[in-house]
Symmetry: C2
Subunit: 508 residues, 2 copies
């Protein structure tokens, strides 16, 4: 397949409108490149006093990009391009252009503006309200955010024909619906509390020794870089730096991952880095011939998370991989009892029901997500009000994790930034990603029955090859369902995730 290029000579006379659109999106990509690098810089490098100027610069660029995607010429061009003789990739590209156009044009600028102000206010105050456990104070701002989110949801629902919550979720996870989520999460709900109890009983007989710090930052950084290389990340086309909140940014041609270090603990930083490496390799291996076009972008939030979790959970906590990790850990920090491979594996798979989602282990994590989904969906649909959140939160935490959160707002509904920022519909993607990751590895094992032995022997190529062929190189070529079917023979099926948890947490 031919790359899109800008030279008029390479443009087809049969697809002039499509070519115009591809040119527009090429420009969006190139300008977006600067925005991405500036965003990374803001988190990784920027000195504090530059904040205002940087925010103004990035807002100016955001407005510019928005104007480009809301150019009144686009709808007509998108329609005319539909009539042109396009190949499959071009047609998929046109579908994704249409989707991006729709997302950018769905909401009136005034609503976007009011939302920006409301979320900025809510998020800003939340930073103080959370440590102060100030639920009442939070509610005062959050009501406004929710009111605007409901307006958004109503408009998106009208335009898409989806329910309000589904229309919100569709921004992050196209094609996913609450009907499907209800089924999937409903299933998980059935077996999860029982599984957690069995795992807790199982691991009680398998105590782990804690590592003894301090762990010098330079040694941690060297260890992380070594592991990131081992996982195939191309440092000639990306970087690993430090920021307060780890993320993976930049552009596919220049992937910027970040992590953070503290000297009393190294495992969470290491596993966090492995997590970002999954995101990073997805980005680095998107189809280069199509880079800059929407069809070459990562499929969805859940698919992206399926890559980070394939790396962090499926691979990073795989006993065979941990065997390889152990000598590197000893090399970094010297030997100690905690660094025996079996003990490291126990540390990495330790399950403990707790308050905080981001600290949760692989087994209890879905409970945190289901709980949030069961609150944010009716919240957006107008079936409950913000005042109802604490009681629902307490009930679900007790039911799913056996944890008492009453009165503890700061470790309860105040713990995440998503709601103050109106990111309704995003939470499910985390658990969908974990499920897809389980499904990918189940599919790999079907075609490569010796997969676990090969991972144990240090041969990660089969994993990377499968992910490259089935996920990375496919980008947004297919809908998520179709991608899953082609990759694994079936659409999303949480049974694989369940089997993975049972094997890993009850198998030995």
């Amino acid at each position: 397949m031919l790359a899109f290029t800008e030279t008029p000579a390479a443009m087809s006379t049969a697809t002039p409108t499509y070519d115009t659109l591809a040119g527009t999106w090429g420009r969006l990509h190139r300008l977006g490149h600067l925005q991405s690098i500036a965003g990374w810089d803001q988190a990784a490098n920027m000195p504090p006093k530059a904040n205002e100027a940087r925010a103004a610069a990035m807002a100016e660029m955001a407005a510019l990009l928005h104007r480009m995607v809301t150019d009144p010429a686009l709808p007509g061009q998108l329609e005319r391009a539909e009539q042109e003789p396009l190949d499959d990739w071009q047609r998929a590209n046109l579908r994704e252009m249409h989707r991006q156009w729709h997302l950018s044009n769905a909401l009136p600028e005034s609503l976007v503006q009011r939302m920006r102000m409301a979320t900025a206010r809510c998020e800003h105050a939340w930073r103080q309200q959370r440590p102060a456990n100030d639920w009442a104070g939070f509610l005062a701002n959050f009501r406004e955010v929710l009111a605007l989110a409901r307006e958004e949801a109503a408009l998106l629902s009208q335009q898409t024909g989806l329910s309000k919550y589904d229309a919100m979720m569709d921004r992050f996870e196209p094609g996913m619906t609450s009907a499907q989520l209800d089924r999937v999460f409903g299933e998980v709900r059935q077996w999860l509390p029982g599984l957690i109890q069995r795992v807790l009983a199982h691991q009680a007989a398998r105590p782990a020794v804690d590592p003894v710090g301090p762990f010098p930052l330079a040694a941690q950084r060297a260890l992380c870089e070594k592991v990131v290389r081992l996982l195939g990340f191309d440092f000639d086309a990306g970087r690993l730096d430090v920021s307060t909140h780890p993320f993976c940014g930049g552009v596919p041609e220049d992937v910027r991952m970040t992590t953070r270090f503290r000297d009393d603990e190294f495992l969470s930083s290491l596993m966090g880095t492995i997590h970002e490496t999954g995101h990073g390799r997805y980005e680095q291996n998107l189809p280069r011939d199509w880079l800059g076009q929407p069809v070459a972008e990562a499929r969805s939030a859940a698919l992206h998370e399926s890559q980070s979790l394939s790396f962090e959970m499926q691979l990073g906590s795989h006993p065979g991989f941990v065997n390889r990790l152990a000598p590197l850990v000893r090399e970094a920090f010297g030997d100690q009892p905690a660094f025996a491979a079996q003990n490291l594996h126990r540390l990495l798979t330790r399950v403990k029901p707790g308050f905080i989602r981001v600290d949760a282990d692989e087994v209890t994590y879905p409970a945190h997500i289901i709980l949030r989904y069961e609150i944010e969906r009716p919240l957006i649909e107008g079936e409950i009000e913000p005042e109802d959140i604490p009681a629902l939160w307490d009930a679900r935490m007790s039911e799913l994790l056996g944890v008492d959160t009453r009165g503890n707002f700061k470790d309860g509904p105040l713990q995440d930034v998503h709601w103050p920022e109106a990111l309704f519909g995003y939470f499910p993607c985390y658990s969908l990603g974990a499920m897809y990751a389980g499904q990918w590895f189940a599919a790999m094992r079907r075609t490569m029955p010796d997969l676990d032995a090969r991972i144990g022997a240090g041969d990660l190529a089969p994993v990377f090859g499968w992910l490259r062929d089935n996920i990375w190189s496919q980008a947004s070529r297919w809908t998520t369902d179709e991608l899953a079917r082609r990759a694994s023979g079936e659409p999303l099926n949480p049974a694989h995730f369940k089997a993975h948890l049972e094997t890993r947490y009850l198998g030995d």
Copy 2:
């Protein structure tokens, strides 16, 4: 004075067109911010494989910024704004807008495009031709660059009424003419060769001990940061990083300086860092109320260089400052005979006629500039041809520095990137900067007779205060001549530079 703000409420009804223009330049500033940071990132961080995508992104932005400044609405707006009741700062701002508009609109896009390709080709080949001493190969490309530069110069000359070379120089150093340069450089030419000989004789009796390496990079970095802090750079509004070629970039709100380290030598890195700190403080102290507007930009290339050289030469090699530096050097690398303050000062003021401009000391440096000026001016005016360069180069080097460069093109006319990049008219700014720096310190000493004693006592505040009041805060408020007059009571006067050299290099 009131800051320009974007809120319509703050806009005057009496100056609607001026306000529109200020809005346009505010947008240019904000988008240019992203371009600057991306440019810094390219030099300081970017992994090699990102080069093509980054170049494409920055070219897209350059084209966008160019379109904004060549908007056909601007000339009319600039004219109408002239009629509005503006205060002095606004009027200066309008003058600078007009200048920027003119610079961006002076040349047809096709010429700019051809020049871009010719300089890219010439510069790219030059990287190999210089080490290969391949003058003939260089000429083949350089003829095309020069032909286009002459086209540029002819167009700029027509529009400005300046001579061709003056019109080229005016892009970097507005107001400077070759008539004035001939006078100034003619004077320097008279006393420089004799002064160099006297200095060489003088220092022969004052040998210096060389420092003994290696000098660990971490210690060098810590030393540089300490000195940069001592020099008042605000690390909360800027950074110091590493790049192949040191520079000062970023934006006034976020100044990004770079340096480079090698472990067998530390003084050139330290002094290079002090040099960039001068640029950095100028940028950090431009008038904040006007940031984003042309009037708040640094006055000119020579003025910028006058700041870096005020820091590196006037202050950095000042015996009183070197007294303060010596204990920091010992703290960084341990004690050795070379680190005695007097010896450090001798090292920093060692004069040695040589081939290479960028390695030249403060005394011989002007010879390198006069030589280049005496070649590039007639080259642009069409009085000589590229074939004539080597003979002229040899003659001038022998005459001014007593150095024989015959046949040595790589350390002769092939040594700089300026000509392959068509930066004709830039070289004089380096020496003008050194002269202005001498003039500023002479003016300081007139109003503060105890200046040297205060520097020796570690009190740098009088220097920074004077530079802030007279240079930094004035930005582009005045023409360069007027700025010099207000700051020092006279326009450019190279006698101060001569007196400085005599005092420093013959005085002890």
